[in-house]
Symmetry: C2
Subunit: 269 residues, 2 copies
């Protein structure tokens, strides 16, 4: 169901970019989106207003995801969204990656989970409470109030936007089966370390492994369980490079070993 990439209609042509070099597998959009959403604990709940009738109504909604990627929320009978859900179950949750102050909000990853809100019954309450509280400790202040109840969003369709130019509809079964990448929790630190202490190795990887001999800088921009993402800049502009690890990595030690292996391969290439 992927429908990317498609080009905007750019007057005078877009900025010059070197072609991407993608070597080896990368996470699919289901994994990317689940990984992103797993790190975020507040989204926008979309419901249908009673008045004006059927108008989409966005509200702030802390959530936790269950194992199948369904948002679990805790909402009050005093709130509009609860009245809306009781009137019409159709609902969605938008989850958005944080943007740095002054950053471009449309460069952020985001995923819209579309489906139906279902109130959690007594038998599911403790599990729902545990999922919700693990994500939102603030909720301890109100989860046991008499007017609050837990709801689950049954997810029927998933729209993913991974920043400019990367977007797709994710299959609902793939969403339910996807697992957050364990590397995500320490990837930012690993990227920082590579750029601070191993810039020479990154440049060599871009020049030899990716075959972009004329680039003069290479910056790590991402690491996941399957590989390393660089942006390398040369005479033909900046270009994306993806290098695969020999095998999937899950821990800081495994990531360290995998990048050392890439650096050695770059030197001997």
């Amino acid at each position: 169901m992927a429908d990317r990439p498609r080009d905007h209609t750019v007057p005078g042509g877009g900025p010059s970019m070197a072609p991407a070099v993608v070597l080896g597998p990368e996470p699919d959009d289901a994994e990317r989106a689940r990984t992103m959403a797993a790190a975020i604990t507040t989204g926008t709940l979309g419901t249908l207003a009673i008045d004006p009738p059927g108008t989409p109504f966005g509200s702030v909604s802390p959530f936790g995801l269950d194992d199948a990627g369904r948002p679990v929320i805790c909402i009050s009978e005093l709130a509009e969204h609860t009245r809306n859900l009781r009137n019409d179950a159709r609902a969605s949750m938008l989850v958005v990656e944080p943007t740095a102050p002054g950053g471009d909000p449309l460069a952020a990853g985001r995923v819209t989970l579309l489906g139906r809100g279902v109130e959690v019954d007594e038998s599911g309450r403790e599990a729902a409470k545990a999922i919700h509280l693990a994500a939102n400790p603030h909720a301890a202040g109100y989860v046991d109030y008499g007017d609050f109840s837990f709801w689950r969003l049954e997810v029927d369709a998933i729209r993913y936007v991974g920043g400019y130019g990367r977007m797709s509809w994710i299959d609902a079964a793939a969403w339910a089966a996807a697992r957050p990448d364990p590397v995500a929790t320490f990837a930012a630190g690993a990227v920082e370390h590579l750029n601070a202490d191993h810039a020479d190795a990154l440049l060599l990887m871009a020049q030899t492994l990716a075959g972009r001999g004329s680039v003069t800088t290479a910056t790590a921009v991402g690491i996941d369980r399957l590989g390393l993402e660089l942006v390398a800049v040369g005479p033909d502009g900046p270009g994306r490079i993806r290098l695969a690890f020999a095998e999937p990595a899950a821990t800081p030690d495994a990531i360290r070993a995998a990048t050392v292996t890439l650096a050695k391969a770059a030197r001997s290439a």
Copy 2:
């Protein structure tokens, strides 16, 4: 149309709070919400999905507000929300105050503007572009792409939540007529200054002007064109205090003079 405050059903009763002391006028919810929204440039656009049919669809949407408080957006024909709007004009914009990292997301102010999306025609394009770009300089990179167009949200209903316990439906005419408080742009600095350098004066204001003689600390938590907000803590717990300025203030100098007047009144009370 105000429907606040209403109580949650609290097992064992809530935390102890001193009664609020509110002296003089305060901004109404229309002004509070317009002031909040004027400082924010990205919201969640709510539209109705084509598939699953009629399901609320949230998407990231930079916006600028026109003089009547209508969000002006710039959206691509490649995006789902644009297809959705062309299929059904019902739409909303959720605007949320930023939350500090680790902060309680439900303590933030937010406003949902509900209405209908209307494409801006050629005669309105330059004005819409100016409003949008003033709020979102990043949009300069794509506003003139052939697949982008400007849309305006005609606002029919406004739901405001000013944090826990403060919520109302704002009248549409009041929303259109409200003006952002000019003091908002420098209020945080003024509050910081008062707490850092004039804690003794704030305490005296709470004890004498607000008649809470037993409080032992008073902290400024907000300033607007009409007055000063404190939280004072005494044996009966923390309590909100609102003190009015003799006349509305709009500039840093006017705020300084107004708070000096309050401090003098507190000393001579």
